[in-house]
Amino acid sequence: MTEPPEHAPAATAASAATADEVMTVVAARELRGRRTCFVGIGLPSIAASLARQVHEPSLVLIYESGPIGAKPTRAPLSIGDGELADTALDVVGVPEVFSYWLQGGRIDVGFLGAAQICRYGNINTTVIGPYRQPMVRLPGAGGAPEIAASAREVIVVARHTSRTFVNRLDFVTSIGHHDGGDSRKALGLPGDGPTAVITDLGVLRPEAESRELVLTAIHPGVAVATVRERTGWPLRMAASLTETEPPTELELGTLRRLSAGRPTGSAG
């Protein structure tokens, strides 16, 4: 990646917060008031841990590796970390976590990452370039296609670059709002699809009718022009575009405790 992963820190109380930290803090806030979160691999994992510690102590974190009700005290390096199992209320087999728990309709929020995302919140984590002659072979689907389909709603966390926020996906791994409008509903999917995309620049949400992602909040110190530059489609602003509340000391302190010892820039 040649684009800088972080923008300049904002000159606020959160001046010490990196863009990644703001993204994680804002993602964690999205879990306020939720009961159950199916935590996908990647960036969402640390935000989910943060949400449990700061906002929603009773939030039930469920991982595709089987832990139900995990209570991680540090950001898991992988989705199958021993600590997830050790702190969980129960650890079930992988077939059960997908059948009884996800497909059974028991997940309020699916929390996903993305390598590419389009204006309708469809996600690619499979391949850049043609499928049979890839330029970049990505890890693949994991649990995401069914999380995207079955969770009551989906929140996506992704760094905001023009490589990620693209006009057209090279491959649809996990469905968002499909072609917009009612097209997702027409596929018969149980869940409502992405309701928020949290980036290191701001927050995008689907417009009511079109289901196209529009910018609804911008992080402190970020210019709208930067967001537009790094978005591969002509990004529109919500009528009520707001500025993100900067991270509180509690949020930031907790996040840093959670992240201690974790490799930086990790994708897992």
Partner: protein, 288 residues
């Protein structure tokens, strides 16, 4: 009935060139020792099946043991890409690798159906995804009661399943606990199976959550730390530093091959491999 045999014998007896093999493990209990032994014995043309191929399959693919990979997520968790997997897919090195990919839910349903003696599994899955267009093993089925259309996936029928577990008891029954993935299903949908364990015990630990009775396993081999750099809950910690180091070891072809030659192909067994790693770690500390 499970025979307690050295791992080299188990692999020699039960794994053949061209087999469809699942070395399963979801972050936890990944059967590295067994995979290394397949490499030492020069197995070729394997179809490798696994939900979450990580370093072990990167190693096997990088040495050209596999011609096909059936999977749902292939990466170095928390670190990044699998360079050898990518090199095989992107540049056909050391040989082309045919990919068949699924979602986790689809793979789990394929294992579950195979374990259940059914030809297919049913799920709400793949809808709206491009995945289904690239495999013949995803189709649809209509509910005879509601008329609703659902996704069908073909059951797995494996030649060999290989898993690592914590314990085998004196009667050859295998017990494991912690994150248990699809290990039970993998063993139950394979014609032949090999289990490596940390330890032989009189009675399985009360923490045991998944039991593989002796009579569904062909061979059990005691290989302490046989999951390294993965872990076995109650016995070892995940070697996260090794996972990070693998990014460097595997990045380029020659150093990868050299590392594998020295650490895997030219060691006699997994214990020697572990001793070599330990000696290197000690030397690294000493040279600081």
């Amino acid at each position: 009935m499970a025979a307690l045999v050295p791992l080299a014998d188990a692999v020699a007896d039960l794994v053949r060139d061209g087999d469809t093999v699942a070395l399963e493990g979801f972050t936890h209990l990944i059967p590295f020792a067994a995979g290394h032994e397949m490499l030492r014995q020069g197995r070729r043309g394997l179809t490798l099946v696994r939900m979450t191929p990580d370093l072990l399959y990167d190693q096997m693919i990088g040495l050209g043991a596999a011609e096909r990979l059936v999977f749902s997520w292939g990466g170095n968790p928390g670190v990044g890409s699998l360079h050898r997997l990518r090199d095989a897919v992107e540049h056909g090195w050391p040989e082309p690798l045919d990919l068949e990919e699924h979602s986790h839910a689809g793979m789990a349903a394929r294992y579950g159906a195979g374990a259940s003696g059914l030809p297919f599994g049913v799920l709400r899955g793949y809808v709206g995804s491009d995945l289904a267009a690239h495999t013949r093993n995803v189709s649809t089925v209509t509910c005879p009661f509601t008329g609703e259309q659902l996704t069908a996936v073909r059951a797995f029928a494996l030649d060999v399943a290989v898993v690592h577990a914590q314990q085998v008891d004196r009667d050859g029954n295998v017990g494991l606990w912690g994150i248990s993935g699809v290990q039970k299903e993998a063993v139950l949908c394979a014609r032949r199976s090999i289990v490596t364990v940390e330890e032989r015990v009189d009675q399985l630990d009360p923490r045991t959550r998944v039991v593989l009775p002796s009579w569904v396993v062909d061979a059990v081999s005691v290989v302490p730390q046989g999951a390294h750099p993965s872990y076995a809950a109650g016995y070892s910690e995940r070697d996260n530093a090794f996972y990070a180091r693998w990014d460097t070891i595997s990045r380029d072809r020659e150093p990868f091959v050299e590392w594998m030659r020295r650490h895997v192909l030219e060691t006699s067994d997994f214990a020697e491999y572990l001793r070599l790693l330990a000696a290197e770690a000690a030397a690294a500390v000493g040279s600081r």
